[in-house]
Amino acid sequence: MTSPALPARFSRAGDSAIVVEFEERIDLAINARCIAFANAVLSCGLPGIRDVVPAYCTVTVYFDPLRTEQERLLACLKQAASETRRTVDAPGRTHRVPVCYGGELGPDLADVARFARLSEEETIERHVVRRYRVFMLGFIPGFAYLGTVDEQIAAPRRAAPRTRVPAGSVGIAAGQTGVYPIETPGGWQLIGRTPLRVFDPSRPRPSLFQPGDAVHFVPISRQQWDRFTL
Protein backbone atom coordinates (compact mmCIF):
# COMPACT_ATOMS: atom_id res chain seq x y z
CA MET A 1 0.00 0.00 0.00
CA THR A 2 1.05 3.63 -0.23
CA SER A 3 3.24 5.00 2.49
CA PRO A 4 1.70 7.65 4.74
CA ALA A 5 1.75 11.11 3.16
CA LEU A 6 4.41 13.50 4.38
CA PRO A 7 3.30 16.84 5.78
CA ALA A 8 3.09 19.67 3.26
CA ARG A 9 5.81 22.36 3.17
CA PHE A 10 4.71 25.99 2.96
CA SER A 11 6.89 28.73 1.52
CA ARG A 12 6.45 32.26 0.26
CA ALA A 13 6.95 33.25 -3.36
CA GLY A 14 7.11 37.01 -3.01
CA ASP A 15 4.44 39.04 -1.17
CA SER A 16 1.35 37.65 -2.86
CA ALA A 17 1.79 33.91 -3.33
CA ILE A 18 2.28 30.88 -1.12
CA VAL A 19 3.72 27.66 -2.52
CA VAL A 20 2.56 24.44 -0.92
CA GLU A 21 4.96 21.63 -1.71
CA PHE A 22 4.25 17.98 -1.22
CA GLU A 23 7.00 15.44 -1.89
CA GLU A 24 9.40 16.63 -4.56
CA ARG A 25 8.94 14.06 -7.29
CA ILE A 26 6.75 13.29 -10.27
CA ASP A 27 4.30 10.73 -9.00
CA LEU A 28 0.61 9.97 -9.60
CA ALA A 29 -0.37 9.92 -5.93
CA ILE A 30 1.44 13.16 -5.11
CA ASN A 31 -0.06 14.87 -8.16
CA ALA A 32 -3.53 13.60 -7.15
CA ARG A 33 -3.00 15.13 -3.74
CA CYS A 34 -2.05 18.47 -5.34
CA ILE A 35 -5.24 18.52 -7.40
CA ALA A 36 -7.41 17.55 -4.41
CA PHE A 37 -5.69 20.23 -2.31
CA ALA A 38 -6.18 22.88 -5.04
CA ASN A 39 -9.89 22.04 -5.22
CA ALA A 40 -10.19 22.21 -1.43
CA VAL A 41 -8.56 25.67 -1.39
CA LEU A 42 -10.87 26.92 -4.15
CA SER A 43 -13.94 25.67 -2.29
CA CYS A 44 -12.94 27.32 1.00
CA GLY A 45 -13.93 30.57 -0.75
CA LEU A 46 -11.63 32.84 1.21
CA PRO A 47 -11.84 36.43 -0.05
CA GLY A 48 -8.64 37.74 -1.63
CA ILE A 49 -7.61 34.49 -3.34
CA ARG A 50 -6.80 35.32 -6.98
CA ASP A 51 -5.74 31.99 -8.43
CA VAL A 52 -4.83 28.46 -7.40
CA VAL A 53 -2.31 26.71 -9.63
CA PRO A 54 -1.58 23.01 -9.21
CA ALA A 55 1.63 21.69 -10.80
CA TYR A 56 3.37 18.27 -10.65
CA CYS A 57 4.00 18.28 -6.89
CA THR A 58 3.19 21.82 -5.73
CA VAL A 59 0.19 24.11 -5.53
CA THR A 60 0.68 27.87 -5.67
CA VAL A 61 -1.99 30.06 -4.11
CA TYR A 62 -2.05 33.66 -5.38
CA PHE A 63 -3.70 36.23 -3.14
CA ASP A 64 -4.19 39.98 -2.93
CA PRO A 65 -2.07 41.01 0.08
CA LEU A 66 -4.23 44.10 0.67
CA ARG A 67 -7.46 42.11 0.86
CA THR A 68 -6.35 38.92 2.57
CA GLU A 69 -5.98 38.10 6.23
CA GLN A 70 -2.82 36.08 5.86
CA GLU A 71 -3.23 34.26 9.18
CA ARG A 72 -6.65 33.05 8.07
CA LEU A 73 -5.32 32.08 4.65
CA LEU A 74 -2.51 30.02 6.20
CA ALA A 75 -4.94 28.34 8.58
CA CYS A 76 -7.23 27.49 5.67
CA LEU A 77 -4.31 26.07 3.65
CA LYS A 78 -3.13 23.95 6.57
CA GLN A 79 -6.65 22.65 7.11
CA ALA A 80 -6.98 21.76 3.42
CA ALA A 81 -3.55 20.07 3.44
CA SER A 82 -4.44 17.85 6.37
CA GLU A 83 -7.86 16.99 4.91
CA THR A 84 -6.31 15.88 1.64
CA ARG A 85 -3.59 13.83 3.26
CA ARG A 86 -5.16 10.53 2.40
CA THR A 87 -6.31 11.34 -1.11
CA VAL A 88 -7.46 8.52 -3.29
CA ASP A 89 -7.01 9.52 -6.92
CA ALA A 90 -10.47 10.47 -8.13
CA PRO A 91 -9.90 10.29 -11.88
CA GLY A 92 -11.14 13.20 -13.91
CA ARG A 93 -12.68 12.80 -17.31
CA THR A 94 -11.20 10.48 -19.93
CA HIS A 95 -10.51 11.90 -23.41
CA ARG A 96 -10.05 9.94 -26.62
CA VAL A 97 -7.83 12.02 -28.87
CA PRO A 98 -7.66 11.03 -32.56
CA VAL A 99 -4.16 11.38 -34.01
CA CYS A 100 -2.88 10.98 -37.55
CA TYR A 101 0.69 9.77 -37.00
CA GLY A 102 3.77 10.32 -39.16
CA GLY A 103 4.20 11.82 -42.59
CA GLU A 104 3.99 15.59 -42.90
CA LEU A 105 1.70 15.71 -39.83
CA GLY A 106 4.33 13.98 -37.66
CA PRO A 107 7.68 14.96 -39.16
CA ASP A 108 9.77 13.60 -36.25
CA LEU A 109 8.21 10.12 -36.10
CA ALA A 110 11.15 8.63 -38.03
CA ASP A 111 13.65 10.23 -35.61
CA VAL A 112 11.75 8.95 -32.57
CA ALA A 113 11.57 5.47 -34.12
CA ARG A 114 15.33 5.59 -34.73
CA PHE A 115 15.87 6.68 -31.09
CA ALA A 116 13.67 3.77 -29.94
CA ARG A 117 15.20 1.30 -32.40
CA LEU A 118 11.68 0.35 -33.43
CA SER A 119 9.71 0.60 -36.65
CA GLU A 120 7.41 3.61 -37.05
CA GLU A 121 4.39 1.32 -36.57
CA GLU A 122 5.83 -0.10 -33.34
CA THR A 123 6.61 3.43 -32.12
CA ILE A 124 3.02 4.50 -32.74
CA GLU A 125 1.81 1.37 -30.94
CA ARG A 126 3.94 2.24 -27.89
CA HIS A 127 2.49 5.77 -27.84
CA VAL A 128 -1.11 4.60 -28.29
CA VAL A 129 -1.17 1.77 -25.81
CA ARG A 130 -0.73 3.92 -22.70
CA ARG A 131 -3.33 5.84 -20.77
CA TYR A 132 -1.79 9.19 -19.88
CA ARG A 133 -2.50 11.47 -16.99
CA VAL A 134 -2.79 15.26 -17.22
CA PHE A 135 -0.25 16.18 -14.54
CA MET A 136 -0.55 19.92 -15.11
CA LEU A 137 -1.03 22.63 -17.74
CA GLY A 138 1.44 25.34 -18.65
CA PHE A 139 3.71 26.74 -21.39
CA ILE A 140 0.79 28.12 -23.43
CA PRO A 141 -3.00 28.20 -22.85
CA GLY A 142 -4.42 24.66 -22.86
CA PHE A 143 -1.07 22.85 -23.11
CA ALA A 144 -1.30 19.72 -20.93
CA TYR A 145 1.79 17.88 -19.71
CA LEU A 146 0.83 14.20 -20.15
CA GLY A 147 2.78 11.36 -18.63
CA THR A 148 4.40 9.15 -18.57
CA VAL A 149 5.73 8.02 -21.91
CA ASP A 150 7.16 4.50 -22.49
CA GLU A 151 10.89 4.88 -21.78
CA GLN A 152 11.89 3.32 -25.07
CA ILE A 153 10.20 6.05 -27.14
CA ALA A 154 10.97 8.88 -24.68
CA ALA A 155 13.18 10.84 -27.09
CA PRO A 156 14.62 14.10 -25.76
CA ARG A 157 13.63 17.53 -27.13
CA ARG A 158 14.96 18.48 -30.55
CA ALA A 159 18.41 20.11 -30.45
CA ALA A 160 17.03 23.11 -32.38
CA PRO A 161 13.42 24.09 -31.56
CA ARG A 162 11.08 24.81 -34.49
CA THR A 163 10.03 28.41 -34.91
CA ARG A 164 6.55 27.26 -35.93
CA VAL A 165 4.72 24.19 -34.65
CA PRO A 166 1.18 23.86 -36.09
CA ALA A 167 -1.83 23.73 -33.75
CA GLY A 168 -2.85 20.15 -32.92
CA SER A 169 0.69 18.76 -33.19
CA VAL A 170 1.33 15.85 -30.83
CA GLY A 171 4.83 15.80 -29.41
CA ILE A 172 7.15 13.83 -27.16
CA ALA A 173 9.84 15.29 -24.89
CA ALA A 174 11.57 12.69 -22.72
CA GLY A 175 8.94 11.19 -20.42
CA GLN A 176 6.24 13.65 -21.43
CA THR A 177 3.80 13.90 -24.30
CA GLY A 178 1.38 16.67 -25.22
CA VAL A 179 -0.74 18.46 -27.80
CA TYR A 180 0.13 21.99 -29.00
CA PRO A 181 -3.16 23.97 -28.68
CA ILE A 182 -2.09 26.82 -30.97
CA GLU A 183 0.63 27.51 -33.47
CA THR A 184 3.75 28.45 -31.54
CA PRO A 185 7.51 27.91 -31.48
CA GLY A 186 8.38 24.59 -29.83
CA GLY A 187 11.07 21.98 -29.34
CA TRP A 188 9.18 18.71 -28.83
CA GLN A 189 9.51 15.80 -31.24
CA LEU A 190 6.37 15.92 -33.41
CA ILE A 191 4.97 12.45 -34.10
CA GLY A 192 1.45 13.27 -35.31
CA ARG A 193 -1.42 15.72 -35.28
CA THR A 194 -4.97 15.77 -33.91
CA PRO A 195 -7.86 17.60 -35.58
CA LEU A 196 -9.35 18.39 -32.14
CA ARG A 197 -9.26 21.96 -30.84
CA VAL A 198 -7.85 21.44 -27.38
CA PHE A 199 -8.18 25.12 -26.38
CA ASP A 200 -10.94 27.55 -27.33
CA PRO A 201 -11.55 30.56 -25.05
CA SER A 202 -15.13 30.91 -26.32
CA ARG A 203 -16.16 27.50 -24.95
CA PRO A 204 -17.63 27.20 -21.44
CA ARG A 205 -14.72 24.81 -20.75
CA PRO A 206 -11.95 26.61 -22.64
CA SER A 207 -9.44 23.80 -22.14
CA LEU A 208 -10.27 20.23 -23.20
CA PHE A 209 -7.76 18.94 -20.66
CA GLN A 210 -7.93 19.65 -16.91
CA PRO A 211 -5.42 18.56 -14.28
CA GLY A 212 -6.12 14.96 -13.28
CA ASP A 213 -7.87 13.96 -16.54
CA ALA A 214 -6.91 10.83 -18.48
CA VAL A 215 -6.00 10.79 -22.17
CA HIS A 216 -5.98 7.99 -24.75
CA PHE A 217 -4.56 8.60 -28.21
CA VAL A 218 -6.41 6.84 -31.03
CA PRO A 219 -4.67 6.46 -34.39
CA ILE A 220 -6.59 7.64 -37.45
CA SER A 221 -5.71 7.34 -41.13
CA ARG A 222 -4.84 10.20 -43.39
CA GLN A 223 -8.27 9.80 -45.06
CA GLN A 224 -9.98 10.13 -41.67
CA TRP A 225 -7.83 13.19 -40.91
CA ASP A 226 -8.86 14.78 -44.20
CA ARG A 227 -12.53 14.15 -43.39
CA PHE A 228 -12.12 15.67 -39.90
CA THR A 229 -10.48 18.80 -41.22
CA LEU A 230 -12.75 19.41 -44.26
Binding site: R12, G14, D15, D51, C57, T58, M136, P141, I182, Q210
Partner: protein
Protein backbone atom coordinates in the same frame (compact mmCIF):
# COMPACT_ATOMS: atom_id res chain seq x y z
CA UNK B 1 -20.59 54.33 -29.63
CA UNK B 2 -17.27 56.11 -29.62
CA UNK B 3 -14.05 54.76 -31.02
CA UNK B 4 -10.40 55.56 -31.54
CA UNK B 5 -9.14 55.55 -35.10
CA UNK B 6 -5.49 54.50 -35.25
CA UNK B 7 -3.47 56.66 -37.65
CA UNK B 8 -0.07 55.40 -36.42
CA UNK B 9 0.07 52.50 -33.95
CA UNK B 10 3.42 53.27 -32.29
CA UNK B 11 5.97 50.55 -31.53
CA UNK B 12 3.75 48.24 -29.47
CA UNK B 13 0.36 49.52 -28.34
CA UNK B 14 -1.94 46.94 -26.73
CA UNK B 15 -5.19 46.91 -24.77
CA UNK B 16 -4.55 45.92 -21.13
CA UNK B 17 -6.40 45.81 -17.83
CA UNK B 18 -5.54 44.33 -14.41
CA UNK B 19 -5.08 40.86 -15.91
CA UNK B 20 -6.77 37.57 -16.65
CA UNK B 21 -6.87 35.93 -13.24
CA UNK B 22 -8.28 32.49 -12.44
CA UNK B 23 -7.14 30.52 -15.48
CA UNK B 24 -3.48 29.84 -14.74
CA UNK B 25 -4.34 26.23 -13.91
CA UNK B 26 -5.27 25.92 -17.62
CA UNK B 27 -1.97 27.45 -18.70
CA UNK B 28 -3.47 30.89 -19.42
CA UNK B 29 -1.01 33.65 -18.44
CA UNK B 30 -2.25 36.56 -16.32
CA UNK B 31 -1.06 39.31 -18.70
CA UNK B 32 -2.46 42.80 -17.97
CA UNK B 33 -0.70 46.13 -17.60
CA UNK B 34 3.05 45.82 -16.95
CA UNK B 35 2.84 48.90 -14.70
CA UNK B 36 -0.49 48.33 -12.95
CA UNK B 37 0.03 51.39 -10.72
CA UNK B 38 0.15 53.78 -13.69
CA UNK B 39 -2.72 51.93 -15.38
CA UNK B 40 -4.87 52.51 -12.30
CA UNK B 41 -3.82 56.18 -12.06
CA UNK B 42 -4.82 56.78 -15.70
CA UNK B 43 -8.25 55.31 -14.95
CA UNK B 44 -8.75 57.27 -11.73
CA UNK B 45 -7.86 60.55 -13.46
CA UNK B 46 -10.64 60.10 -16.04
CA UNK B 47 -13.21 58.82 -13.53
CA UNK B 48 -13.13 55.16 -14.61
CA UNK B 49 -13.14 52.09 -12.47
CA UNK B 50 -9.48 51.11 -11.88
CA UNK B 51 -10.05 47.84 -13.70
CA UNK B 52 -11.21 49.49 -16.96
CA UNK B 53 -9.02 48.74 -19.98
CA UNK B 54 -6.37 51.26 -21.07
CA UNK B 55 -3.91 51.35 -23.93
CA UNK B 56 -0.37 50.35 -22.98
CA UNK B 57 2.00 52.42 -25.12
CA UNK B 58 5.58 51.15 -25.43
CA UNK B 59 8.58 53.43 -26.06
CA UNK B 60 7.16 55.05 -29.23
CA UNK B 61 3.56 56.21 -29.04
CA UNK B 62 0.57 56.23 -31.41
CA UNK B 63 -1.47 58.88 -33.20
CA UNK B 64 -5.19 58.51 -32.56
CA UNK B 65 -8.35 60.25 -33.82
CA UNK B 66 -11.28 60.43 -31.40
CA UNK B 67 -14.80 59.88 -32.83
CA UNK B 68 -16.37 61.82 -29.95
CA UNK B 69 -15.30 64.17 -27.16
CA UNK B 70 -13.52 62.33 -24.36
CA UNK B 71 -11.69 63.02 -21.15
CA UNK B 72 -8.30 61.30 -21.32
CA UNK B 73 -5.24 60.96 -19.08
CA UNK B 74 -1.79 59.52 -19.60
CA UNK B 75 0.16 58.00 -16.74
CA UNK B 76 3.46 56.15 -16.54
CA UNK B 77 6.08 57.03 -19.14
CA UNK B 78 6.07 60.72 -20.06
CA UNK B 79 5.81 61.77 -23.71
CA UNK B 80 5.53 65.10 -25.49
CA UNK B 81 1.86 65.19 -26.44
CA UNK B 82 -0.28 67.25 -28.75
CA UNK B 83 -3.97 67.54 -29.52
CA UNK B 84 -4.70 68.87 -33.01
CA UNK B 85 -1.10 70.07 -33.20
CA UNK B 86 -1.18 72.04 -29.94
CA UNK B 87 1.07 70.83 -27.12
CA UNK B 88 -0.76 69.62 -24.01
CA UNK B 89 0.64 68.96 -20.56
CA UNK B 90 0.64 65.22 -19.87
CA UNK B 91 0.51 65.62 -16.10
CA UNK B 92 -3.24 65.28 -15.61
CA UNK B 93 -6.54 64.68 -17.39
CA UNK B 94 -7.54 66.74 -20.43
CA UNK B 95 -10.27 66.78 -23.06
CA UNK B 96 -9.84 65.64 -26.66
CA UNK B 97 -12.65 67.12 -28.80
CA UNK B 98 -14.78 65.19 -31.30
CA UNK B 99 -12.55 64.48 -34.30
CA UNK B 100 -9.47 65.56 -32.32
CA UNK B 101 -6.06 64.02 -33.04
CA UNK B 102 -4.00 62.94 -30.03
CA UNK B 103 -0.39 62.50 -30.98
CA UNK B 104 2.43 61.00 -28.94
CA UNK B 105 5.80 62.52 -29.90
CA UNK B 106 9.19 62.27 -28.15
CA UNK B 107 9.46 60.10 -25.05
CA UNK B 108 10.77 61.97 -22.02
CA UNK B 109 10.97 59.34 -19.25
CA UNK B 110 9.95 55.71 -18.66
CA UNK B 111 9.21 52.90 -21.09
CA UNK B 112 5.43 52.41 -20.89
CA UNK B 113 2.60 54.93 -20.82
CA UNK B 114 -1.05 54.17 -20.10
CA UNK B 115 -3.76 56.03 -21.99
CA UNK B 116 -6.93 56.10 -19.93
CA UNK B 117 -10.06 57.20 -21.79
CA UNK B 118 -13.35 58.01 -19.99
CA UNK B 119 -15.55 54.95 -20.56
CA UNK B 120 -12.55 52.66 -21.04
CA UNK B 121 -11.43 50.66 -24.07
CA UNK B 122 -14.43 48.45 -24.78
CA UNK B 123 -13.06 45.36 -26.52
CA UNK B 124 -14.85 42.08 -25.64
CA UNK B 125 -13.99 40.27 -22.43
CA UNK B 126 -12.11 37.03 -23.07
CA UNK B 127 -11.95 34.75 -20.02
CA UNK B 128 -12.94 37.68 -17.85
CA UNK B 129 -10.36 40.17 -19.09
CA UNK B 130 -9.72 42.63 -21.93
CA UNK B 131 -5.94 42.19 -21.69
CA UNK B 132 -4.01 41.24 -24.81
CA UNK B 133 -1.84 38.12 -24.68
CA UNK B 134 0.03 38.29 -27.98
CA UNK B 135 1.64 34.80 -28.15
CA UNK B 136 -1.81 33.13 -28.14
CA UNK B 137 -3.63 36.05 -29.84
CA UNK B 138 -5.93 36.16 -26.82
CA UNK B 139 -8.09 39.13 -25.77
CA UNK B 140 -7.46 42.78 -26.56
CA UNK B 141 -8.15 44.11 -30.05
CA UNK B 142 -8.36 40.86 -32.06
CA UNK B 143 -5.55 39.37 -29.97
CA UNK B 144 -2.93 41.65 -31.50
CA UNK B 145 -1.19 44.99 -31.11
CA UNK B 146 -2.96 47.99 -32.64
CA UNK B 147 -2.31 48.61 -36.32
CA UNK B 148 -2.89 51.62 -38.59
CA UNK B 149 -6.51 51.80 -39.71
CA UNK B 150 -7.94 50.06 -36.60
CA UNK B 151 -11.11 51.38 -34.96
CA UNK B 152 -10.88 50.62 -31.26
CA UNK B 153 -14.27 50.70 -29.47
CA UNK B 154 -14.77 52.90 -26.40
CA UNK B 155 -17.25 52.33 -23.57
CA UNK B 156 -19.87 54.73 -22.26
CA UNK B 157 -18.35 57.11 -19.71
CA UNK B 158 -19.66 56.43 -16.18
CA UNK B 159 -20.72 59.16 -13.77
CA UNK B 160 -17.26 59.12 -12.19
CA UNK B 161 -15.61 62.49 -11.68
CA UNK B 162 -12.61 63.24 -13.84
CA UNK B 163 -9.67 64.60 -11.85
CA UNK B 164 -8.73 67.43 -14.14
CA UNK B 165 -6.59 69.27 -11.67
CA UNK B 166 -4.77 66.25 -10.27
CA UNK B 167 -1.26 65.36 -11.31
CA UNK B 168 -0.36 61.75 -12.08
CA UNK B 169 2.29 60.49 -9.60
CA UNK B 170 5.29 59.49 -11.69
CA UNK B 171 8.29 59.22 -9.39
CA UNK B 172 8.73 55.54 -10.30
CA UNK B 173 8.96 56.21 -14.04
CA UNK B 174 11.98 58.51 -14.01
CA UNK B 175 15.29 56.94 -14.95
CA UNK B 176 17.64 57.66 -12.05
CA UNK B 177 21.29 58.62 -12.64
CA UNK B 178 22.35 55.26 -11.22
CA UNK B 179 20.42 52.01 -10.96
CA UNK B 180 16.72 51.64 -10.33
CA UNK B 181 16.65 50.27 -6.75
CA UNK B 182 14.37 47.25 -6.66
CA UNK B 183 13.43 45.35 -3.51
CA UNK B 184 13.10 41.56 -3.48
CA UNK B 185 12.03 38.86 -1.08
CA UNK B 186 14.31 35.84 -0.87
CA UNK B 187 13.05 32.61 -2.38
CA UNK B 188 11.02 30.54 -2.96
CA UNK B 189 14.01 28.40 -3.97
CA UNK B 190 17.02 30.35 -2.67
CA UNK B 191 18.21 27.09 -1.09
CA UNK B 192 18.91 25.74 -4.61
CA UNK B 193 21.79 28.21 -4.94
CA UNK B 194 25.22 28.56 -3.39
CA UNK B 195 25.23 30.29 0.01
CA UNK B 196 26.54 33.55 -1.46
CA UNK B 197 23.84 33.84 -4.17
CA UNK B 198 21.69 36.44 -2.39
CA UNK B 199 24.82 38.48 -1.56
CA UNK B 200 25.91 38.29 -5.19
CA UNK B 201 22.43 39.34 -6.34
CA UNK B 202 22.81 42.48 -4.17
CA UNK B 203 26.45 43.08 -5.05
CA UNK B 204 26.17 44.95 -8.33
CA UNK B 205 23.92 46.28 -11.03
CA UNK B 206 22.04 44.28 -13.63
CA UNK B 207 21.63 45.73 -17.10
CA UNK B 208 18.24 45.33 -18.84
CA UNK B 209 18.97 43.55 -22.14
CA UNK B 210 17.37 44.50 -25.49
CA UNK B 211 15.39 41.24 -25.83
CA UNK B 212 13.34 42.12 -22.74
CA UNK B 213 9.59 42.51 -23.20
CA UNK B 214 6.18 41.86 -21.71
CA UNK B 215 7.11 38.28 -20.87
CA UNK B 216 10.35 38.92 -19.02
CA UNK B 217 13.13 41.33 -18.29
CA UNK B 218 16.39 39.70 -19.31
CA UNK B 219 19.29 40.81 -17.17
CA UNK B 220 23.07 40.82 -17.26
CA UNK B 221 25.09 41.25 -14.09
CA UNK B 222 26.75 39.25 -11.30
CA UNK B 223 26.41 35.52 -12.04
CA UNK B 224 24.35 33.43 -9.59
CA UNK B 225 25.43 29.83 -9.11
CA UNK B 226 23.19 26.86 -8.46
CA UNK B 227 24.17 24.49 -5.67
CA UNK B 228 23.44 21.55 -7.97
CA UNK B 229 21.09 21.64 -10.94
CA UNK B 230 19.42 24.72 -12.44
CA UNK B 231 16.25 22.74 -13.14
CA UNK B 232 13.43 22.09 -10.70
CA UNK B 233 10.21 20.15 -11.24
CA UNK B 234 8.04 22.75 -13.05
CA UNK B 235 5.86 24.86 -10.80
CA UNK B 236 4.04 28.18 -10.83
CA UNK B 237 5.88 31.43 -11.61
CA UNK B 238 4.50 34.58 -9.97
CA UNK B 239 5.20 38.04 -11.43
CA UNK B 240 8.54 39.32 -10.20
CA UNK B 241 10.14 35.89 -10.01
CA UNK B 242 13.91 35.93 -10.62
CA UNK B 243 14.45 32.56 -12.25
CA UNK B 244 17.97 31.49 -13.09
CA UNK B 245 18.86 29.26 -16.08
CA UNK B 246 22.14 27.27 -16.04
CA UNK B 247 24.27 30.20 -17.30
CA UNK B 248 23.51 32.05 -14.04
CA UNK B 249 22.01 35.31 -15.37
CA UNK B 250 18.58 35.91 -13.79
CA UNK B 251 15.41 36.43 -15.84
CA UNK B 252 12.78 38.63 -14.17
CA UNK B 253 9.31 37.33 -15.06
CA UNK B 254 6.72 39.97 -15.97
CA UNK B 255 3.05 40.22 -17.04
CA UNK B 256 3.05 37.79 -19.99
CA UNK B 257 5.18 35.15 -18.24
CA UNK B 258 4.25 31.52 -18.73
CA UNK B 259 2.19 30.14 -15.86
CA UNK B 260 4.85 27.58 -14.89
CA UNK B 261 8.60 27.27 -15.20
CA UNK B 262 11.35 24.77 -14.56
CA UNK B 263 14.31 26.91 -13.46
CA UNK B 264 15.17 27.54 -9.82
CA UNK B 265 13.88 30.84 -8.43
CA UNK B 266 16.32 32.76 -6.26
CA UNK B 267 14.14 35.72 -5.25
CA UNK B 268 10.92 37.59 -6.08
CA UNK B 269 10.54 41.33 -6.70
CA UNK B 270 7.96 42.87 -4.35
CA UNK B 271 4.63 43.86 -5.95
CA UNK B 272 5.12 47.54 -5.20
CA UNK B 273 8.39 47.67 -7.19
CA UNK B 274 7.18 45.85 -10.33
CA UNK B 275 5.84 49.11 -11.85
CA UNK B 276 9.35 50.58 -11.62
CA UNK B 277 10.80 47.53 -13.41
CA UNK B 278 8.13 47.93 -16.11
CA UNK B 279 9.39 51.48 -16.69
CA UNK B 280 13.02 50.42 -17.22
CA UNK B 281 14.01 50.66 -20.88
CA UNK B 282 16.66 48.31 -22.30
CA UNK B 283 20.14 49.59 -21.44
CA UNK B 284 19.05 50.90 -18.03
CA UNK B 285 20.14 48.99 -14.96
CA UNK B 286 18.56 47.61 -11.81
CA UNK B 287 20.01 46.89 -8.40
CA UNK B 288 18.40 44.47 -5.97
CA UNK B 289 18.04 44.63 -2.20
CA UNK B 290 16.49 41.93 -0.05
CA UNK B 291 13.71 43.27 2.19
CA UNK B 292 11.13 41.84 4.61
CA UNK B 293 7.50 40.84 4.05
CA UNK B 294 6.50 43.75 6.33
CA UNK B 295 8.41 46.21 4.15
CA UNK B 296 6.85 44.76 0.98
CA UNK B 297 3.35 45.16 2.40
CA UNK B 298 4.07 48.68 3.69
CA UNK B 299 5.25 49.74 0.23
CA UNK B 300 2.07 48.36 -1.33
CA UNK B 301 -0.10 50.15 1.25
CA UNK B 302 1.73 53.42 0.49
CA UNK B 303 0.87 53.05 -3.22
CA UNK B 304 -2.74 52.29 -2.33
CA UNK B 305 -2.88 55.48 -0.23
CA UNK B 306 -1.58 57.49 -3.18
CA UNK B 307 -4.40 56.12 -5.33
CA UNK B 308 -7.01 56.73 -2.64
CA UNK B 309 -5.78 60.31 -2.24
CA UNK B 310 -6.17 60.84 -6.00
CA UNK B 311 -9.71 59.46 -5.90
CA UNK B 312 -10.71 61.57 -2.90
CA UNK B 313 -9.31 64.78 -4.30
Amino acid sequence: MGSLHVVRPGLLTTVQDLGRWGFQSLGVPVSGAMDTFSHRIANVLVGNDQSAATLEVTVAGPELVFSDERMVAIAGAMFDLSVDGRAVASTGAFVVPKGGVLRFAARVTGARAYLGVAGGIDVPLVLGSRSTYLPARLGGHGGRALAAGDHVPLGEPADGRAMRRRVAPRSHTRAPDGDRAVRVLAGPQADRFTDDALDRLQSGSYRVLPDSGRMACRLEGPVLRHARRAEVISDATPAGTLQVPPAGQPILLMADRQTTGGYAKVATVISADLPMVAQAAPGESLSFTVCSQAEALAALIAQERTLLALEDA
